[in-house]
Subunit: 175 residues, 2 copies
């Protein structure tokens, strides 16, 4: 048996109990039915399924700090080479935390709070690159260009870039 | 103006139009209100907000192929060091694509479909490591251990591991 549960864990279990009780989509196949994938930010204010109309089973959803394409590349290659997706939407958003700090700021926080061994680990495991970026619109364009230039993504894959406004709940295509 | 749109892009815009029309949560703050983060798979059959009861604004959601903790580490560090989260739930799932192939299979597909330059790019950008794993339960335990051992995550952060059953819609705590 799992040991004692935190309030968050108890809440997840209670919510899931209700979800499972009326769940009727256990027949869905592994490959995304609509053959597309969305890369977006981990930001708590984004609910991709609701905001972008992604029905269960339709698309892969990759999320990380910033909706970063480089970070997502491993997952993207698996999605398009092994699971048949042929369209990628990069969706960054207004008010992203990633434009509020620079790499060296984050590294300084890590060093101060967690010490030199933690800083070393960041260097070894992700090159101490937190992938902060200064501007949302250029960030979207850069990531789209990165993916379009990548040899790991065939020309047949359609790639677009979007910005989601977390205050208005509205998304718009940028590129 | 953005150029012509694919059917997927048109569907995203149409769905979002409705979402934005009744959106009333533009006041939410950047840091996750409930101070937790979920790492789960990009799998199309998972809707984390619905299945795990994550209300808008409450938690960071990180998703990648396999719900992989190593891949998520950069984002996790940003979440806990810069945005105040103090609890991590790793949620992998039954029927995951990541247990259906081995690293060398994926690399062979890349080489065959996309050529040697693509294979090289995979080696440079993510060490040609697709992070396939053979067993879900051990995969969850390994990732929880990896995070608990990481110097980048202070002991004060609670870390648990879960498995979501995509056929039953039910999640259970493993560790």
């Amino acid at each position: 048996m799992a040991s004692s549960k935190t309030p968050v864990q108890q809440a997840v279990e209670a919510s899931n109990e209700k979800y499972a009780a009326s769940f009727h989509q256990g027949h869905l196949a592994l490959p995304p039915a609509k053959k597309y994938l969305v890369v977006t930010c981990m930001d708590a204010r984004i609910d991709p399924a609701a905001a972008f109309g992604i029905a269960l089973g339709d698309a892969h959803v990759i999320r990380n700090a910033g909706g970063n394409a480089r970070d997502a590349l491993r997952s993207i290659v698996i999605s398009e080479q092994l699971l048949g997706t042929n369209e990628i939407l990069i969706i960054k958003h207004t008010g992203c935390g990633m434009i509020t700090f620079r790499n060296q700021d984050a590294l300084k926080v890590v060093q101060q709070n967690l010490g030199s061994l933690a800083k070393q680990e960041a260097e070894i495991l992700f090159n101490a690159d937190f992938q902060a970026f200064p501007d949302i619109e250029n960030g979207v364009k850069d990531d789209v260009t990165f993916l379009r230039d990548s040899k790991l993504i065939p020309q047949s894959v359609t790639i677009s870039g979007w910005i989601y406004d977390v205050h208005a709940g509205r998304v718009r295509k940028v590129v």
